[in-house]
């Protein structure tokens, strides 16, 4: 299953629409979960998982009396990883976690409505959203779980993987439609020795609202003031051109089919489908290809605030790929239910430690240790009536 498949459900809204949307979402989630459950047992021969997890895992299980089931909803980008985590955590600790990948926006509204035990988002909640959530359940945490990178993919016959070099200015110029031809001097200057055609650049973007677009437009807003003032940063923006593709596979298909096309997809999708990506110039002036290591580097050795609410695009690390973002789990500091809060705190603790070993196999970039430290502090703050719920030996 690709990550592109699983963000089809609707966002539930008030009134009777809740019924319809809820049923749909539940059905989709049930189908997806059963499908993934099946495949993960079938593919559970991964040798790397057994040894370390049993040693640390035995300590990481919630104490007896904790809840044996939790529900969560939100971002679709980390869904394959979360579904691996939930099945592993269930095996180790007997806690069943039902995660519905309904999209970041819906995840935020569901945790605000407290219909789930945790939310998940690829973007930082806006001030208005934080206010609404705080009114409903007090302070809310953004706990980073993994890194996501966005690869810039191209269709230029004769140009190899990572061979095309792009600077932030040029990428913004292309997406603003200021640079219209591949042999524009702005591009050829960066790529001596690469034969670039005189054809038009067909610019492809995501047509659906997505965390991928949020990270991509966040990067462009940081590196281009013109982008920031005319287009801006959101899960879905008013694009200057040319064509939209539905989900990762829609974008990838358009780029594959149209010679001279450029697009952007999740790194995992680009790796799985052997797409030709460009090297991006990072803040230190170095050209970097998108890989799991250069993605992890984006949050390594950079200043991360304690609440981890930061977009790490355009990282200062000289080895970092620049179009990278965290994906977070959203949880209330003050848990309304002790049993559920305990399970949640232990699950999150397990995710940022034991869970990280599954990342690379599933093409996610693990969190660096300094980010794990920040996440640890956040998880320790999760409490019931002022008492921290995490009792580590």
């Amino acid at each position: 299953m690709t990550k592109a498949d699983n963000s089809h459900s609707a966002r539930p809204s008030r009134g009777f629409l809740v019924l319809i949307a809820g049923t749909l979402a539940a059905t989709v989630a049930a189908v997806l979960l059963s499908a993934c459950g099946g495949s993960s047992t079938a593919g559970s021969t991964t040798p790397s998982t057994s040894g370390s997890s049993t040693t640390t895992g035995s300590n990481a299980c919630p104490p007896s009396g904790a809840a044996t089931s939790l529900t969560g909803a939100g971002a679709s980008f980390p869904y394959p990883l979360y579904s691996k985590w939930t099945s592993q955590f269930d095996k180790q600790c007997g806690v069943q976690i039902n995660y519905q990948s309904v999209g970041s926006g819906a995840g935020i509204s569901q945790i605000t409505a407290k219909t789930v035990d945790f939310g998940a988002s690829d973007g930082i909640m806006t001030d208005d959203q934080v206010k609404a959530a705080e009114a409903a359940g007090g302070p809310i945490l953004h706990i980073p779980m993994t890194n996501g990178a966005v690869a810039v993919i191209v269709n230029l016959p004769g140009v190899d993987q990572g061979q095309l070099k792009l600077t932030p200015d040029v990428l913004a110029g292309i997406y603003l439609k200021n640079i219209k031809k591949w042999n524009d001097p702005a591009i050829t200057r960066l790529n001596p020795g690469v034969s670039l055609p005189s054809s038009d650049i067909a610019v492809v973007h995501r047509s659906d609202g997505s965390g991928t677009t949020f990270i991509f437009t966040n990067y462009l807003s940081k590196v281009s003031s013109e982008w920031q003032s005319t287009v801006g940063n959101a899960t879905s923006v008013q694009w200057p051109g040319d064509i939209g593709g539905e989900k990762n596979d829609g974008v990838a298909q358009q780029v594959k089919q149209i010679q001279g096309a450029i697009g952007y997809v999740e790194l995992a999708y680009a790796i799985q489908n052997n797409l030709t990506w460009a090297s991006m110039q990072n803040k230190s002036g170095k050209y970097v290809e998108p890989t799991l290591d250069s993605t992890t580097a984006a949050s390594t050795g950079v200043t991360i605030p304690d609440d981890t609410k930061v977009m790490i695009t355009d990282s200062t690390n000289p080895n970092a790929y620049p179009i990278v973002g965290f994906t977070w789990i959203l949880a209330y500091v003050n848990q309304p239910d002790q049993a559920k809060g305990e399970s949640l705190a232990y699950y999150l603790w397990w995710s940022i430690h034991d869970g990280q070993q599954y990342s690379k196999d599933l093409l996610y970039a693990p969190l660096p240790s300094d980010v794990v430290k920040k996440a640890e502090a956040e998880i320790k703050s999760i409490s019931y009536q002022g008492q921290s719920l995490l009792q580590l030996p």
Partner: protein, 327 residues
């Protein structure tokens, strides 16, 4: 004896009364249940309308009538307008109807008037099964097969020979208004064909026999007696197809290339109301945003309702218009 007779008559009366009461009660119960089911459909429609209206009130109060004319869909600056979506919805559906109408009417005429009996039923059955294909399958087929074909040769040839028309300008991306129209045409073919065929079959055989008896050819018989007779039913079939095209979501979303813009060229990527909602609803992160999407749904419902009402009126007309032939 007399008393016994009187008694038995009385008993009969009571029995009659009781059975009448029973029947009456059963009747009433039946009527109430059926009425409840009937009204529940109306209530559902009313509830849906009210819900959409309720959810879109923030957008209505923010943008007013300007929403209809607005050409931006900008979640960053919180400006929303419906014009490109309405334009895309109507134009893509019209393309679909223009393409599908001749084919499906031709197929309906063939199936009802000319096909040999052994072919009629299997062919009709196959046409109707087309309607059961999930639209996401049409969409995937659209991305992998239809769109490359539309890019080259269709758009290359059209652009090369008719590029002077504003309809066929711009780069041939493949995805866009034309691809959406073509995929919609394929999707509404079965509904138009099936309804048109039923209309044609409703024409009494006496009409055909009379025409043939006057020495008419097959073509004269079909065009004068059959098509004349049920033309409002055929129009109804086409309008129902149009109504289906207006609301179709998934397949269109996958091939229209979503660009929120009004462009005269059929090659240009566009957006429809349904595809806009499908694409953006799950990530719509603030209330004005969802509200604007809801208002878009309200507008779409309005357009579809108008088309369906027109279709209903025409289809009803055929049911009681044997005298239409007199003209």
């Amino acid at each position: 004896m007399g008393a016994a007779t009187g008694e038995s008559i009385g008993a009969n009366r009571r029995g009659l009364l009781a059975s009448w009461r029973r029947a009456r009660f059963g009747d009433v119960l039946f009527r109430v249940i059926v009425a409840a089911f009937g009204l529940s459909v109306l209530a559902l429609a009313a509830l849906m309308l009210w819900q959409l209206f309720f959810e879109s009130r923030e957008s209505i109060s923010t943008f007013g009538w300007g929403f209809l004319a607005g050409t931006h869909w900008d979640s960053v600056n919180r400006v929303f307008g419906a014009a490109p979506a309405i334009y895309g919805t109507i134009v893509s559906s019209l393309i679909a109807v223009v393409l599908a109408m001749p084919i499906s009417l031709g197929a309906a005429i063939y199936l009802s008037e000319m096909a040999p009996p052994w072919l009629r039923h299997p062919a009709s059955f196959l046409v109707e099964s087309l309607a059961a294909i999930p639209s996401v399958v049409f969409g995937l087929w659209g991305i992998y097969v239809l769109v490359p074909w539309i890019r080259d040769p269709v758009e290359r040839v059209l652009g090369g020979h008719l590029g002077f028309l504003p309809l066929f300008t711009g780069p041939p991306f493949g995805v866009g208004m034309l691809a959406a129209g073509v995929i919609l045409a394929i999707m509404i073919l079965p509904i138009i064909t099936a309804i048109a065929r039923d209309s044609l079959l409703a024409v009494p055989s006496s009409q055909r026999e009379a025409m043939l008896a006057l020495g008419a050819t097959k073509w004269e018989m079909i065009s004068r007696a059959v098509l004349q007779y049920c033309r409002s039913g055929l129009v109804g079939a086409v309008l129902l197809g149009l109504g289906r095209a207006l609301g179709e979501t998934m397949a269109v979303t996958m091939v229209i290339g979503k660009t929120y813009d009004i462009n005269t060229s059929l090659f240009a990527p566009a957006s429809t109301a349904a595809s806009q909602i499908a694409s953006e609803f799950s990530e719509a992160s603030f209330s004005l945003y969802t509200s604007a999407l809801m208002e878009l749904a309200l507008l779409l419902l309005g357009i579809t309702l108008l088309v369906n009402i027109a279709a209903r009126l025409l289809v009803w007309r055929i049911a009681r218009s044997p005298e239409a032939i007199k003209e």
